[in-house]
């Protein structure tokens, strides 16, 4: 009889536990990371009697969560990757929209500038046309600067994002470490098979949260604690110890933020590849890839435009009859910030880098950053970071020009010291229009040629060009006379020409003196003269404006060698747009598929661990009925007992 009570009460308890568990499941149906729990009910050991083994009811041995470690790991990983690409994408999209907008991008301003130039070419002496060209140059400056400001703002925002991520990561790793401790303690004291389910769920939720900030791989410890490691094995949590991350200015470039990890009393700088995945990984990848690439490429365009347009403009003559000056402020005159010594440098070495218009260097620029390392005595190695091409330099060979960047080392560094060189980063920020007086736009060419008015032969002289690059020859505008002494020879007189006599004449061949080049064609007669001299009053001359206008169509950038075929300004900008667009579109695809992957993994996880209210409703009914039946058993046991008591 007591056994019957025992069985009944046990059944009552079991049913109650079942109802509790179902209720717990129902109330947590919407708790993120919650795994549904079931009771593990086992039959009690039977009682051996003469009549055989009498069943002794059942006991709830444990309440377990329905959990699949593999699926959980998949969810974590997918979420970490999805978060990385969606963070990267979100930031990339803001650049993409900015650059590819047909009205707000650089393209319309670039076109407008050349349109202004063409207007001046059409009406070289018209002040209104000149004003329009100057205004369009100024709006080009404004557009360069505003796009660059957006880049700078994004860089600052990325630094803030990194800071925020690091703070969040630190909070999470600390909590996970604490929970590791609790779980280890509770698990150690629990009976076999029993686990602190809700704590485990909570910890898994936090690890998932952490993975959304940075990829953290889980290694399960013997005591049930989680060890968390970054993608390259950098520990984030070990047992109850959380490694604290913090941010410092980047060793290579102090305007960027770098993440360090505290190791005891010292700290170690983490590279971008140590911190992949999650928001942090996305932000770092965006800064390294999209942002820096786009900003450098824009800067390259600004520098190339400045230098090439200036070069041509300086070959011209303005409305006052003076030689052309610079149209845009020369790049090199205000570019102190393109070399950053590494913060770990031990020496006091000074490295300078500059981009000059000399030898068309602007055409060779790449959008990459460079690292200069003083590897051994008198030996430097220069690494182009975009493709890790290494160029060896020696002290004797300095200053050296690589990819259009001239590098010199005024003060020798200590061996092993590194310098980050960012030749194009600030190009767009420094793009500015130097010219303010519209009369100083050099639309004309400073020389004019003429055939003698009494020439009897059929010889004609070309309009003449001024030899690039500037500065122009000091004797450029000295009057020079070419006098034919026979049908095949001529004498030259004029300051700077050294007055050669009997120069052989070839029709159409270049004749170059004093920094200009002309061609004479046809059959000049004896004593025919041709003169080259200043272009006095050449107000209607538009040769230089036309030459500047033609630059829109010339491949002046991205050359492999000076004079080689390159790409036009418009194409260079189109390249940025298409690179950013391609990257964004690739990220969009990645992000979508990773999100789908994460959703699929979560779906699989939910299929195992998620709460189904209908199921819980049926469980409630089931346990309720068991409870009612067990209650009936107690009352039957009571009746039976009464029956015994009533036997007298």
């Amino acid at each position: 009889m007591p056994g019957l009570y025992g069985i009944s009460v046990g059944a009552l308890n079991n049913a109650m536990t079942g109802v509790y568990t179902a209720g717990h499941n129902i109330s947590n149906a919407n708790t993120p990371g919650y795994s549904r729990q079931t009771i593990e009910q086992t039959t009690n050991d039977p009682l051996r009697t003469g009549a055989g083994f009498i069943g002794q009811g059942a006991t709830v041995g444990a309440i377990t969560r329905l959990y699949d470690g593999f699926l959980t790991q998949q969810v974590r990983q997918a979420n970490s990757q999805a978060m990385e690409s969606s963070t990267y994408l979100a930031q990339m999209q803001s650049i993409d929209r900015l650059l590819s907008d047909p009205n707000a991008g650089l393209s319309p301003a670039l076109t407008a500038f050349f349109k202004g130039v063409q207007e001046v070419a059409a009406k070289p002496a018209d002040i209104a046309a000149r004003q329009s060209m100057l205004s369009s140059a100024q709006s080009l400056e404004a557009r360069f600067k505003s796009i660059n400001t957006q880049f700078t703002d994004l860089r600052a925002a990325v630094n803030t994002d990194i800071q925020a991520s690091v703070t969040h990561i630190n909070a999470l790793t600390r909590q996970i470490a604490t929970m590791n401790d609790q779980i280890a303690l509770l698990s150690a004291n629990a009976a076999a098979g029993q686990q602190p389910n809700d704590l485990l769920d909570k910890r898994d939720t936090m690890v998932l949260e952490l993975n959304k900030e940075i990829r953290a791989d889980v290694v399960l410890g013997g005591d049930g604690s989680y060890g968390l490691f970054s993608s390259t094995g950098q520990p984030l949590v070990l047992g109850n110890l959380a490694y604290t991350l913090s941010t410092v200015p980047d060793a290579d470039n102090p305007t960027d933020t770098q993440v360090t990890v505290a190791l005891g009393s010292s700290s170690m700088r983490l590279r971008a590849q140590d911190l992949s995945g999650g928001k942090l990984g996305g932000s770092l990848a965006f800064r390294q890839g999209g942002l820096t690439d786009a900003q450098n490429a824009l800067g390259r365009l600004a520098i190339a435009m400045t230098e090439s347009v200036n070069d041509q403009h300086r070959l011209g003559q303005d409305l006052n009859g003076a030689l052309g000056g610079v149209l845009f402020t020369a790049t090199n005159s205000a570019n102190p910030n393109i070399v950053y010594p590494n913060s770990a440098n031990t020496g006091a070495g000074v490295v300078t880098a500059s981009v000059t218009s000399a030898s068309g260097n602007y055409g060779l620029l790449t959008a990459s950053d460079y690292r200069l390392t003083y590897t051994a005595l008198n030996t430097y190695s220069l690494t182009r970071l975009s493709d890790n091409t290494v160029t060896a330099l020696t002290t004797a060979g300095l200053p050296a020009t690589v990819d259009g960047v001239t590098i010199s080392v005024p003060t020798t560094p200590a061996i092993g010291d590194q310098f980050m060189i960012t030749p194009t980063r600030y190009g767009a920020a420094q793009f500015s229009v130097a010219l303010t007086d519209v009369r100083k736009i050099a639309a004309a060419t400073p020389i004019s040629t003429a055939a003698g008015l009494s020439n009897a032969g059929s010889g004609t002289v070309s309009a003449g060009t001024v030899n690039a690059p500037p500065p122009t020859n000091a004797n450029l505008q000295q009057p020079v006379t070419i006098t034919f002494t026979s049908a095949t020879t001529f004498d030259v007189t004029g300051v700077g020409t050294l007055n050669p006599v009997g120069v052989a004449y070839t029709a159409g061949a270049n004749i170059t003196y004093n920094g200009w080049t002309i061609q004479i064609n046809g059959t000049p007669g004896v004593n025919d003269t041709f003169t080259v001299g200043p272009n006095a009053n050449g107000l209607g001359d538009n040769r230089n404006a036309r030459a500047i206008g033609q630059m829109q169509m010339q491949g002046l950038m991205g050359r492999s060698a000076p004079g080689a075929t390159g790409i036009t300004y418009g194409e260079a900008y189109g390249q940025i747009v298409s690179q950013v667009g391609n990257k964004s579109s690739q990220l969009q695809v990645n992000s979508d598929s990773l999100k789908a992957l994460a959703a699929a993994a979560e779906k699989s996880q939910n299929a195992v661990s998620g709460v189904n209210l209908d199921e819980e409703a049926s469980n409630l009914m089931r346990y309720q009925q068991v409870y009612q039946a067990a209650g009936k058993m107690v009352s039957i046991a009571g009746v039976l007992f009464d029956t015994i008591l009533n036997i007298r």
């Binding site: 063409q118 003429a450 055939a451 026979s486 007669g525 169509m553 189109g574 959703a599 998620g610 209908d614």
Partner: protein, 409 residues
């Protein structure tokens, strides 16, 4: 397969959200008329769009330049046409002045008319285009190119010619400088010019002559025929070489001359004839062609016509002056005609380029539209479909989410 309740709600709301995103995107496309909102939607098309847009803008500028070029060319062409007819008029008057029956006063009247024509010609040479730039000043298009000082007309322009960029690879010169048209007019027959000295006392005349063998010409050499006593002999000197010319090994010294038949001299690749009756000491020059401005030609003509004609010698001077003037006017006319033809050719080219540019404009705009503009039929039907999908998702979600066992217990 187990479905958790959370899953039912999550997937339901996710489907609705996705439907809304799609719908919004299509709606944006329809309202903006653009196929893509950012470069990421279609990077290649975005870059192509930028390139085409720039192409359209450049082309538009070329079209503006073409109009301006055509305007200036038309103006210059018309002025050059006027100059041509003016020169023809002058030629007619000059021929009339050669009439032996005219009196000095008649010739002076003609001279007066030609002087007026000269002023008119200077006016033409100082023509401006619509914007006030001088057509024939070269680069120096703000200073009046021709001005008369005394009897000479001075050119103040330069020899540049203004070009306009009318296509990617073509710069059209829209002006010709005055030096080429008015100043550099060749004299004589283009190789050499003959003349009788003004101090000649006889009636001897020399024709314009011709080139018989270009290869045998001695470039730059001048010759002089000097008549001896009684005008019955002549000597032919090469004044450049300072020697007597030999023809067929015979030095041309004191060669007999018959005033009834005249003489034809043929040597060193050139040939000319002398006729009439020169007197002793009369000289005829043969010099390499030089150039003379059309203004000087007209001015000289005016001077010749104004001078009273006395006797046979005076008549000879007049005739030779008129002959010179006719030759030079013809050359000036040729010059103006050549320049006018050049303008015409350029106008034709610009007109062709205008057609090319407008075709190019249409094709680029079509390409741009194909790349950038939304296909409304497609977008509208897409919108309807997406709307249907969204509504279905919403309806089915409501139905599924209402299904719960708790409704029955």
């Amino acid at each position: 397969m187990r479905i958790s309740t959370k899953e039912v709600f999550d997937s339901g709301s996710q489907a609705i959200m996705q439907g809304q995103v799609d719908l919004m995107k299509t709606q944006q496309q329809i309202s903006s008329g653009r196929k893509f909102m950012s470069g990421a939607d279609d990077p290649v098309a975005a870059a192509n769009g930028l390139r085409l847009r720039q192409g359209v803008e450049i082309n538009a500028q070329y079209q503006v330049n073409q109009k301006a070029a055509l305007g200036t060319l038309t103006q210059a062409e018309s002025v050059l046409g006027d100059i041509g007819s003016l020169l023809l008029d002058v030629r007619t008057s000059t021929l009339a002045a050669g009439n032996n029956n005219l009196l000095d006063s008649d010739r002076q009247n003609i001279a007066q008319e030609i002087a007026g024509r000269l002023q008119q010609l200077i006016g033409y040479a100082n023509s401006t285009d619509g914007a006030g730039s001088y057509l024939f000043g070269g680069y120096n298009d703000t200073t009046q190119p021709y001005s008369q000082t005394g009897t000479s007309v001075v050119y103040a322009g330069d020899q540049g010619s203004r070009g306009l960029q009318v296509s990617d690879s073509r710069v059209i010169d829209v002006s010709v400088n005055g030096a080429g048209v008015f100043n550099r007019v060749p004299t004589g027959n283009g190789v050499f010019a003959t003349s009788a000295l003004g101090t000649n006392g006889g009636t001897g005349a020399i024709d314009a002559g011709q080139v018989t063998s270009p290869a045998a010409l001695l470039p730059g050499h001048s010759y002089q025929v000097v008549f001896g006593a009684g005008g019955t002999t002549y000597t032919l000197n090469d004044t450049t070489a300072g020697a007597v010319v030999s023809i067929g090994g015979v030095p041309q010294t004191n060669i007999a001359y018959n005033s009834a038949t005249g003489a034809t001299l043929s040597f060193n690749g050139l040939q000319f004839s002398i006729s009439g009756a020169p007197v002793a000491g009369d000289k005829f020059n043969v010099v390499p062609t030089t150039v003379q401005s059309v203004f000087t030609t007209l001015q000289n003509l005016v001077t010749v016509l104004n001078a009273p004609v006395a006797g046979a010698a005076g008549r000879a001077t007049l005739n030779s002056g008129i002959a010179d003037a006719l030759t030079n006017i013809d050359h000036a006319f040729d010059n103006a005609l050549a320049a006018r033809t050049l303008m015409g050719v350029r106008m034709k080219e610009v007109e062709t380029l205008e057609t090319v540019s407008s075709t190019h404009d249409i094709s680029m705009k079509t390409a741009l539209s194909n790349i950038e503009d939304v296909d409304y039929a497609d977008a509208a039907s897409r919108l309807a479909r997406q709307q249907m999908v969204l509504e279905a998702a919403q309806k089915s979600f409501v139905t599924v989410s209402h299904l719960t066992l708790f409704n029955f217990i």
